[in-house]
Symmetry: C2
Subunit: 180 residues, 2 copies
Amino acid sequence: QKFCSQCGALIIQRIPPDDNRVRDVCDNCGAVHYQNPRNVVGVLPVWQDKILLCRRAIEPRYDKWTLPAGFMELGETTAQGAMRETQEEAGAQIELGPLYTVIDVPHAEQVHFFYLAKVLSDELYPGPESLEAAFFDIEDIPWADLSFRTVVTTLEHYLADAKTGVFPVHHYDIPLPDAR
Amino acid sequence: QKFCSQCGALIIQRIPPDDNRVRDVCDNCGAVHYQNPRNVVGVLPVWQDKILLCRRAIEPRYDKWTLPAGFMELGETTAQGAMRETQEEAGAQIELGPLYTVIDVPHAEQVHFFYLAKVLSDELYPGPESLEAAFFDIEDIPWADLSFRTVVTTLEHYLADAKTGVFPVHHYDIPLPDAR
Ligand SMILES: [Zn+2]
Ligand SMILES: [Zn+2]
């Protein structure tokens, strides 16, 4: 950012007193503008052994298949955000289950949360952020055309846990693709 | 916010096209300034059956006892942030354990994460955000003088789980104090 959102003056990049990292500082009004990671909240929706995926109508990953998910909004819980995104992207009626994956994605400055969910009807009304929404049998999941590694790994955990029927919370990091 | 951080023009509160909530919009450069909840990351540090708490030197909750915790920074994981905050607020050497509580606090526009941790030495070097740091026996925890309900409930879960020795991830919401 270039201008102070409080007073409109030019921002300076500087370490404030009692701090240890460079911030966007305004010397006109004294404001320090912090930036923080954002949360992405979504759902793994299951309908009679099929999984609901949406084909993205927006960048990044236009045309790729994804679990319904998006940025958490002010004033909602992660669960409420996950349900809202499912409604917006798939128009699906769901019953939300437990929190399932919590995934740190530090290079994207994000934390992703996916809930398990039971789809209550096979009627889908995908919104403007989806080209389509569809149910996939496990063996038909389009692994090569999935949107994000958080989606891939959440589905992988689900397939593994489905063999035991126990679905604990999984917490892990997604390192950079070229990290050694 | 009043001014566009990209161009310095006045912000207008309006629902952008293809959106469904009021945002901070700039009609000069077209920027839409989204706001999102922030993550607070911290640790429940244990040293020989004692729990490490810090007495806050900053508002809110000045003078109250807290688990080491603070806002997650860009580029770090929740685990890295939790370790950083423990270093900054208590100067304690720890070995980080598993993620323990994930707590939605929608009225504060926050999600809190606490990790279990083992303290490796009883030497503490509290930083400027702490008046002091100290170890408490379970029976001496200053319940009436704790900082936040996320701290209270994380400690309550720990005391309950310590009876069985099993410490699963706990995920829950903190509703408004006067919510019915
Ligand atoms: Zn300013
Ligand atoms: Zn602008």
